[in-house]
């Protein structure tokens, strides 16, 4: 990768920050030049995250860089502990702190006895992979360090792992997952790593009945929780009607709780309705229904399966992050670190259903039918929390997109 024309893939540090900001009862302290913190406000605001009294920076002077002086970090930790009394202070290294080799963990270690808050350090600094690595590391550290040893047993609660506030429609997906689990089993979400959750919930997460690993980034945390508390794991994400039913069936198998019959019937009815689509697609006289997907791995795989069920062939699946954390990536998914290659591929697509991020949408020819399924959002804003990509409502929405696309074909 050489020239980046659009937005680069966010770093591990950015993933750590947006994950931690999704947790209440904690404060995040960045050790580094203040400009990065100020610059990040716009992005976190777009992700719907509140930073007021949650995110702070120490700033850093030349003396701190040259002499390795950490006095201002020490003082900032004391000050936050005294002024806000959070349960946890997460100390996050900047790229500068990481390059000069500041021992953030060491500082947290000797400062721990001087504060009431728990101090947890992240020393990645933006150099250990993309945001997926950050989401994974955050989950691991929370599962290892914050989940209490003897939690209350919560039979009707399940945890979500591998959730990312950086995903497009994260808030809507969270609401849809809450709905699905409640309707199907009467389950509630315990802790969500990391979205719309709190340190209190994370502390008690060892008492949950099940850990749902939505994407690969949550697997490491799930393994830690399994080894610490024996919590069983179900992996996967509910995309499309059949995908949603399959996901619920896996949960039913693992917990021994059957899916509520009336809800199951509703879902089966949806699956039967969607089964008509391959016939419509076959009736096209000139065109073929083809899709191009650009986005996060689990999203494009899940949506790709749904589209194929509808009779639409997926021509290209482009993943917007690295494949490092994915055990055995699908051969159908392209992971290209070269932006130019990705752009050239998209330039050549005509009369396709393109589900992508805004940057990719910009380079696609106008004869395509284009909708957004991944970050970044450049045109407009993400405001609604009732427009998921996952679950039944997500599939409903995508079916509307498919209808719109099919009307452009002959």
């Amino acid at each position: 990768m050489s020239l980046t024309r659009f937005l680069p893939t966010p770093s591990d540090r950015m993933g750590i920050l947006w994950s931690l900001l999704a947790l209440e009862n904690c404060v995040i302290l960045e050790y580094g030049p203040a400009g990065t913190t100020h610059f990040s406000i716009g992005l976190f605001h777009e992700l719907g995250e509140n930073q007021q009294n949650r995110l702070f920076t120490t700033h850093m002077s030349e003396d701190d860089v040259v002499m390795g002086d950490v006095t201002r970090l020490e003082k900032a930790i004391l000050e936050i502990d005294q002024n806000f009394a959070p349960k946890v202070i997460f100390v996050v290294a900047s790229s500068v702190a990481a390059v000069i080799g500041t021992d953030i963990k060491g500082v947290c270690s000797y400062m721990q006895e001087r504060v009431r808050a728990r101090l947890i350090a992240f020393d990645q600094g933006g150099f250990r992979g993309d945001y997926c690595a950050g989401v994974m590391e955050t989950g691991k550290l929370l599962a290892q360090e914050v989940a209490l040893e003897n939690p209350e047993v919560q039979e009707n609660k399940v945890n979500l792992l591998g959730f990312s506030m950086g995903s497009y429609r994260a808030a809507s997906d969270y609401r849809q997952l809450t709905y699905l689990l409640e309707r199907a089993f009467g389950f509630q979400i315990g802790a969500c790593l990391c979205g719309e959750s709190s340190i209190d919930a994370v502390e008690q997460m060892g008492g949950a009945r099940l850990n749902l690993v939505l994407r690969e980034e949550g697997l490491a945390a799930a393994k830690i929780l399994k080894s610490r508390f024996g919590t069983p794991i179900v992996t996967g994400c509910p995309y499309g009607y059949q995908g949603t039913l399959d996901w619920l069936e896996k949960i039913a198998d693992r917990t021994g709780c059957p899916i509520e019959p009336a809800f199951r019937s509703e879902l089966v009815e949806k699956i039967q309705g969607a089964a008509q689509y391959p016939m419509y697609v076959r009736m096209l006289k000139q065109d073929q229904a083809r899709a191009v997907l650009v986005g996060e791995y689990h999203t494009i795989c899940g949506i790709g399966r749904f589209l194929q069920e509808l009779g639409i062939s997926v021509e290209v699946s482009l993943c917007t992050h690295s494949s490092k954390l994915i055990g055995k990536p699908s051969e159908q998914v392209v992971f290209s670190s070269r932006e130019k290659e990705r752009l050239d591929m998209l330039h050549q697509k005509h009369r396709c259903l393109i589900l992508a991020d805004d940057a990719s949408r910009c380079v696609c020819p106008a004869d395509n039918t284009i909708f957004r399924i991944s970050m970044p959002v450049i045109r407009g804003a993400q405001i609604a929390s009732h427009l998921p990509l996952m679950g039944i409502e997500g599939a409903d929405q995508m079916l509307e997109w498919v209808e719109e696309y099919l009307q452009t074909l002959r």
Binding site: P33, G35, H38, M60, I80, N83, S95, C362
Partner: protein, 434 residues
């Protein structure tokens, strides 16, 4: 919650400031913190038509800079002329030259720019890659100016050095020219010069405007900038460039900042027209008298009104000195920089009336605890109006002044202050402070 009394006891007062290093942060943990010079550089390159901004740094620096430009018409939005070379651990360990070579080759093929600004970030400065030498090499290789701009934030307080260094870097493009009577405009950081009183006065007097850096110019205009008769410095970020141009091309410069004091504005106009060897237009005297009358009209209303000074488009101490002169009371001044020797007139004016607290800017989170102790009427700069209202305070909105220069500034600002004061009286009643 933050202990306001403790916080204030740690702060210094204006009278004891001997240099910028004496200005304390309100707290060690800050939010949101200052902007960085990388943003300043991006702001400056935005106004230089067709020039490409190449950010060399981490994913994060590149992401946020591009993010900032996404809705900028001048930058061209998502497909615009802000691009980056993103560094990974390998580049940090072995140097970023190899990656940069490839990125520049792609850039030259696709964008064909008239100039490229190689903007370094903190990490590049720490690893010590010699971007000045690299820029020189590309200049020779591609035959267009490549200019390095250093933007490490750990060596400075805010984004202004980024603007200053970008403007100063433009000096490299300038070539000796035959002199004419145009006036270059240096340092219009925000807003448009064409909407200002100063612009109207100059054009109505038949004086042509030359290069406008950084608010809107082409690379060709930068090259020809030494042809101007006078450089007009609107902001101190443009001073280093003005000094360099004076030394290299003999171009005199006049400081005409966004002053509010009519007396100072009058003097700046006089100096400018002296330098241009022209008579002062008669209209200016009328404007001067009108501004003075305006001061007299609101003086009584504003007398004794206390305020917190935040981030405004004005010269910090000039504005505060003038407001002291008309009887207002600065209780806390937020600024990153005070130069007692160079700004002694302003300091004397303020300290003869009061001795306000001074703290560094861009830390509004802990600032809120001070409202209940200081009970000011007004906040000058950026704060949430609804939050201030609950404390019996009103915000004075100043941003529109970015597109003003001359006596219009006095009239605008006094009117904003008078309106906000009326609001503050109302809000103080609402919260039982009156």
């Amino acid at each position: 919650m933050i202990q306001a009394q403790q916080t204030m006891s740690d702060l210094k007062k204006l009278g004891s400031i001997t240099s910028s290093r004496d200005i304390q942060q309100l707290t060690y943990a800050m939010f949101p913190g200052t902007h960085c010079p990388l943003m300043g550089a991006a702001m400056a390159v935005r106004g230089i038509q067709k020039a490409v901004l190449l950010v060399i740094g981490t994913d994060e620096c590149a992401y946020y800079t591009k993010h900032m430009t996404l809705h900028s018409e001048e930058f061209g939005g998502v497909q615009g002329r802000c691009v980056s070379a993103v560094l990974d651990t390998r580049d940090v360990t072995f140097g970023c030259k190899e990656k940069l070579d490839a990125a520049v080759a792609e850039l030259m093929e696709e964008y064909q720019p008239p100039a490229v600004f190689l903007v370094t970030t903190c990490v590049v400065e720490i690893i010590g890659d010699d971007m000045d030498a690299v820029a020189q090499m590309y200049t020779k290789q591609y035959g267009i100016p490549f200019l390095s701009v250093h933007t490490e934030h750990f060596k400075c307080e805010n984004h202004l050095p980024g603007i200053e260094r970008t403007m100063s870097a433009c000096f490299e493009m300038m070539r000796p020219q035959e002199k004419n009577n145009t006036v270059n405009i240096l340092g219009q950081r925000t807003g448009r010069f064409e909407t200002t009183e100063l612009y109207r006065i100059l054009t109505e007097s038949g004086i042509k405007i030359g290069m406008q850096l950084p608010c809107g110019c082409s690379v060709e205009e930068i090259i020809q900038a030494p042809s101007a008769g006078v450089n007009l410095v609107l902001d101190e970020t443009a001073l280093p460039l003005a000094r360099k141009m004076k030394e290299a091309f003999g171009t005199p410069y006049i400081r005409f900042e966004r002053f509010i004091d009519p007396q100072r504005i009058w003097e700046a106009y006089q100096m400018l027209f002296d330098a241009l060897q022209r008579e002062l237009p008669p209209q200016l005297e009328e404007n001067y008298k009108k501004a003075q009358k305006c001061v007299e009209q609101v003086k009584e209303k504003l007398f004794g009104i206390g305020y917190i000074y935040g981030n405004t488009p004005f010269h910090c101490l000039e504005l505060n000195a003038f407001l002291c002169k008309i009887g207002m009371i600065p209780q806390l001044i937020q600024t990153a920089q005070i130069e007692p020797e160079q700004e002694k007139d302003y300091l004397q004016e303020i300290l003869s009336k009061t001795n306000p607290y001074v703290t560094k800017s861009a830390n509004i989170a802990p600032l809120q605890s001070l409202y209940d102790v200081l009970h000011p009427h007004l906040y000058l700069g950026h704060e949430y109006p609804a939050r201030l209202r609950k404390k019996g305070m009103a915000v004075v909105r100043c941003d529109a002044a970015s597109s003003m220069l001359g006596f219009e500034v006095t009239e605008f600002m006094l009117s904003q202050l008078a309106n906000a004061t009326e609001e503050a009286h109302q809000y103080q009643k609402e919260v039982g402070l009156r």
